[in-house]
Amino acid sequence: MLAIFAGMVAMAVGFPAEGRFLPFVIGIPGTVLCAIQLAIEVDAARRDPGGGLSDGERRKLRTAGILFCWLVAFMTAILLFGFLYAMPVALFAFLRLQQREPLILSLALSAGGLVGMWFIFDVMLRLPLHGGFVIEWLFG
């Protein structure tokens, strides 16, 4: 947070006076507050050094990391192949590989998700969904 605030304040230096006024009014106190919070946390860590991460915490962090990788995979698949193609595949992959759900349930939920999305967004609401870079490149 300290780095973000300091970076934004530093960038605001280059703006015209009126444009940098509020970023300074908010950003400079924000930077100071971040520095105070950092000092509080460093002080607390010094008083109670602890023993690093426990096994449970490490496992939790690892699972969170895996789930975040899945989020990246979902996004990549959607960007490349579009919502309608990427969604059922990504759903199926997650349910089968990550959650280890039975094949039939995974297939049914993925197909249900696809039909639901197609019906609500394409048929009912007629909203344009991202087509996917690869699909657009292949089929125009």
């Binding site: 960038m11 444009g19 699972t63 990246v72 969604m87 759900e101 609401l125």
Partner: protein, 500 residues
Amino acid sequence: MGLDLVLSSLIGLVTSPTLIGLILIAIPIGMFFGAVPGLGGKLGIVLLIPFVFGMDMTAGAVFLLAMHAVVHTGGSVPSILFGVPGTGPDAATIMDGFPMAQKGEAGRALGASLGASGLGGVIGAAVLAVLIPVLAPVVLAFSPAEFFLLAILGITFIASLSGNSLIKGMIVGAFGLMIAFVGMDPQTGVARFTFGQLFLWDGVDLITAILAMFAVPEMIALGVKGGSVSAVTRDAANYSIRDVVVGMGDVFRHWWLSLRTSIIGAVIGMIPGLGGDAASWICYGHAVQSSKTPERFGKGAVEGVIAPETANNSKEGGSLLPTLFFGVPGSSGMAILLGALIMLGIQPGPRMIVENLDLVWTLIWALVLANVLAVVMFLGVARWVGLLAFMRGGLLIPFVFVLVFLGSYLSHGAWENMLLILLFGLLGYGLKETGWPRPPFVIGLVLGPIAEVSLHQAMAIWGPAFLMRPLSLVFLALIGGSIAFYLWRRGRRRSLEIGA
């Protein structure tokens, strides 16, 4: 304000198959988000955002409000049956609801909760309706100076009341404000913090930021926790409809308490930042204090269910007041609803009272209808609602991921927003896991542009002397007071901890 407008809004609502249909769809969705522990109304609004794109603004607003209004009606179910609060504000219901279930009075407790939720919701909407004519001249007297200070007040309220650390709340609120400055500066036309990216010229998309900061961290946390949402046995979910009806009668047997706690809840809802937790606990405390037999509380007193449940639903009506007329959200849930309303093309603020009063009345009637219909619908599905708590979280995660990207893409049609989902999602999870409050970020992001434009206008009209205007001084005193109150409360809590 004419009676014809009030009635025409009601007639317009009940004779519109679309609006009634949307309310009927919104109610089970809201109850679902309330009944599944860990989801809640905020996530409900966030996830429904993709579905309201392209909707008429009234339809979209009615749909989201009706869903949000009944979240706590469903939220009392796991609190009573399993001692697991569906949402934070439902925790007070556990105090007497769960002991009632353990004594074999689960149906009666659920009925009391249901009747109290319905009545509280209706009274909350009535309080809002009564206050509109009183409030109109006050709201219309506001100038840019007051709006700037009101925005700052909104930020300090939320920051000081949404976590254990004032500094953390203020930092996150300030971060939201800084992100609100991304895009073209309204005064100079200079692109700020855009890194040369065209999609950032209009600023960081509010919906993308909300989806990333709330939905992504909740789903990752759900995945990390694993298993089903509730870890208790299914035996507790057995009760009859007859018991539920008896419980509903309790609400009217204790009508004076129901009325008092509904009004207290609505008033608390009006104070930005106090939130549902405060409403339900204050009303629970009031029920204990005002009882002739306070020793029964905590052991299964039905009044201990009625008080927090009336407050939970009535505060929604109250919190609509600052949200709609001042653009300052009454709670973190309302902050997200505010963002969704802006996305629908509704500009909350004092002009609502002049230009969109018909919409305001439609929303008030929607609130009333949703609360009444929720009671009827709940009676029909009462036996199955409790089973929602056993749903496996892992099945929800991939669908929510898709909805997050869908909502982000649809809000601006910019694929780059999906990259922001990753960035803010990571940040949101970090904040959640380290105990930093996230609602101040949304408040800052929503109020930032209002604060900036109002400040420039106030400076252009009065210069720095705008801070010395009488109403400005009142707001400055309120800002100081809210921070002083927080510090006093924190000091008191610490001294109590030391004493214990």
